[in-house]
């Protein structure tokens, strides 16, 4: 199972990073969303994996680590707020600059 989760994290981060490096705002937003999934799962996995051991007092003999869960829970919500902010920033830049390039101006053809 740990192997599967590690693969998932790797794939999410790699896809996220690749999309973040694109030139247009929309793929960058998608990339950040994927990246935040990856980071959330990564943080979550730091507590170790346990099945059917919910961190509720008295429900499980060997409960899972609740601390990463609490951290990730707020991270998910903040991640949404960040994505929303970024999306709106992209819209604003589309509205002001009339293009959706992250640099605010059309690309120089892939140099630099």
């Amino acid at each position: 199972m740990e192997l599967l989760v590690a693969i998932i994290i790797g794939v999410l981060v790699a896809s996220g990073v690749y999309l973040c490096l694109r030139a247009r705002t929309f793929p960058v937003v998608m990339g950040l969303t994927l990246l935040s999934y990856g980071v959330n799962v990564f943080l979550f996995a730091m507590g170790g994996l346990k099945m059917n051991q919910v961190a509720v007092v008295g429900m499980s003999p060997d409960p899972t680590d609740p601390l990463p869960q609490a951290l990730v829970l707020t991270a998910i919500v903040i991640g949404f707020a960040m994505t929303a902010f970024l999306v709106v920033l992209a819209l604003r830049s589309q509205g002001e600059l009339h293009n959706d390039h992250v640099d605010g101006k059309p690309d120089d053809g892939g140099r630099s």
């Binding site: 199972m1 740990e2 192997l3 599967l4 989760v5 590690a6 693969i7 998932i8 994290i9 790797g10 794939v11 999410l12 790699a14 990073v17 690749y18 999309l19 490096l21 694109r22 030139a23 247009r24 929309f26 793929p27 998608m30 994927l34 999934y37 799962v41 979550f44 507590g47 170790g48 994996l49 346990k50 099945m51 059917n52 961190a55 509720v56 609740p66 601390l67 869960q69 609490a70 990730v72 707020t74 998910i76 919500v77 903040i78 949404f80 707020a81 929303a84 902010f85 709106v88 920033l89 992209a90 819209l91 604003r92 589309q94 509205g95 992250v102 690309d107 053809g109 892939g110 630099s112």
Partner: protein, 932 residues
Amino acid sequence: MNLAFVVMLPFLGAFLPPLVERVTGNRTLLACGAAALPALALALLFDPARKVFAGETLHSTLTWIPSLDLSLAFRLDGLALLFALLVLGIGLLVILYARYYLSAKEKAGRFYAYLLLFMGAMLGVVTSDNLLLLVVFWELTSLSSFLLIGFWGHQTGARKGARMAMTVTGMGGLALLAGVLLIGDVVGSFSLTEVLASGDLIRGSELYPLILCLVLLGAFTKSAQFPFHFWLPHAMAAPTPVSAYLHSATMVKAGVFLLARLYPALAGTDLWFEIVTLAGMATLLWGAAVALFQHDLKGLLAYSTISHLGLITLLFGLNSQLAAVAAVFHIINHATFKASLFMAAGIIDHETGTRDMRRINGLWKYMPYTAVLAMVASAAMAGVPLLNGFLSKEMFFTETLQSEQLGAMSWLLPLGATLGGVFSVAYSARFIHDVFFNGEPINLPKYPPHEPPRYMKVPVEILVALCVAVGVFPAITVAGLLAVAATATLGGELPEYHLAIWHGFNLPLVMSFIALFGGIFVYSQRRRLFDLWARLPELDAKLVFEGRIQQLGRLASAITGRLQNGSLQSYVAWGVTLVAVILLTQMWHLPALSLDVGMLPMDGVAVLCTAMLVAAAFLTTILHRHRMTSIMSLSVVGLMVSLLFVRFSAPDLALTQLSVEVVTMLLLMLAMYFLPVRTKVESSSVRVVRDVLLALVVGAGVAVMAFLVMTGDTTTISQFFMDNSKSGGGGTNVVNVILVDFRGFDTFGEITVLGIAAMGIYALLKDLNLASAKYDSLGRPWAKDAHPLVLVTISRPLLPLALLIAVYIFLRGHNLPGGGFVAGLITSVALVLQYVASGVGWVHSRMPGDYHPVVALGVLLAGLTGVGSWVFGYPFLTSSFTYVSLPVIGKFELATAMLFDTGVFLTVVGSTLLMLANLGKLSLLDDKREEA
């Protein structure tokens, strides 16, 4: 008497002159205002001085940053007292002198403020009992001297000279800081008292050579030692009172002060002897020789100062106690005669309008009184008997004769010393003869020159009187101060020595006479020497320095221009590259990967879901140009992630992820309506390959790290939360109790961020005009239908149901999976569904569409809950709970944490709806525009 207060007085005094200047234009009052607090400081030192003379060392400590071992610790021993007297005493004389030197047009208030700032910094340097504090004051002297040298900022020379002094002494200051940090590392304390007591420890340390070099870099740059001497002549662009103060008596002495201060801790090794003596000798000779060829009056004095500082450094380098005594003695003597000479030079400049010695001649006729003063001071500089310079120079000659550390080459030291003495007499003779005799003045800007105002001469008179008094009656004037200062320098023991004019006819006396007559002979041959000098290639330190600085600037802007090219895309690439490099270089330290570790067993469902997730993530990436498809596969990824949370015992996360997934998808769809539907192909294939490589490296690195952590042994602090959740927080769902209780402050911060993000989005969307695309990616026009009936029909009864579930999830959150975040998100989804199904107009006609108050109320409620615990005398956000029994419902729990969670709930609902509803309204605006 608190020493810290005395040190602070000049700093406080710095505020006074600008204030006085506003009230009155009277320059005498202004000078009095400037002098008031330093005079008070000097008076306050009287009683401590008596104690110091009685052999005490006074300490005063205020803690500042104890974790850094940095305290406002001051000490007053003999050495500190000597320098404090020099700083305050000569400072007061300079204030008086500047009263007449500065013209009425100049901003004297600002000048005095800088001067007092410097005075305070210098006083701090000499009285610090903490090495870090000393460095702080050290840097302050560099800064304030920059302001003083650049006081006439309209002159290029002043600006460049100030910059050069700042750069050189500033770099030295950094080196000193590094050296001090290393000393602190070796000794285990930055306290000067402890450092001085740990000399053997430091000298025995492996770091000693490095420490010594760094500290000496600081001292040598400050005291203008070869090869860092070049800044001092250029600092002569400063007003002359500044030169008299900084460049004779105080700032340049900070370097030799440091040598004296750390003498017990650092001196006594061969390395110390080699570096310090060599640098001192080179400086002594170079400065003395070049001084003769300066045509600028202040230039001559500047090089002479360099040479005398070299002499003092050389004495400290000899590793002999008597030499250190001689060095301290020469510090006193040089300060007195050099300050008076600078002041005399300033008077001449002031009265003739020039400092060029080729034009200033024969001033004896015009200002005989000043001439006498200047000639006595010059004679002291040359080391003429019956003046103070003679005494310390004799001691210097004696010491060079006694040193045997160069072995068979030991005769080099007295030879160099005598040679230095010869040149020193020669340039002193030039100062006397060329300025006051040697024919008539040539083409002076102010003619005829006359004596300066009466009180402008007072400071010079006092200093010259001191030169004579010390020279004639050393035993009753300076002996006491010298003894305590030298004792402090040597760390408690004082060698036997005699301050006397006549030591009998011995070798040092011969050397003195050789210097005297040799010097006069050299001066008499000056014409030939000047011709020779003129034929030498000119090396202007300023040009070289400026050139180097400009090269550095060009290099910096080239690098910055390359990195900061304005492209966010390339910044991200640089950032990710850095992460990749760190991952690649640090991975070597991790243990080898092995699949042969204890893992949870895989099953078919898990493998299938993983495959789906991976496929969906790749699909999102590969198909990112087809934005709609990409969003859909992204939602698959999100759903799979929430399943992952379910599988691994995190129901709270699964619930949150699921509801966030819904709002994120809505958000992206709404945004897509206004953005181009397809992404153009524009990245070059090189860039695509590079980005794929970066992504693979980072992804693989993170995956490996995650795998190692998951399969490795980890310790966790979570047992504390498990144990105290019920008893301390009153709930059994530990995740929720952590959020609202244990780490409630974090959560409070997080909902605040959420609220701010929502407000930011609102602000960004305000007055935004966006035209939506009319066609989808396949060229079909977007549907113009009214809201679909089926969706409307289903969504309306769903609302109360969803709200009921939200209430249920909220209430049980403290004990079972759920809570404010999840309940808030479920409520938002239910409400957003109404927007989607029935439209903004329909919703807003039935409920207020203004969500700002909800956000504010939420944050406020959470904050007030926290503040509430103050009322009962507990820290912020301490929760309390009780159990209440009601008929029918039965026994249940009431906790303040629930109030806090309500705040979270409201903030989440308010923020989410504020974001989505406002985004939704954009399309409404667009539709209206189209209709109009």
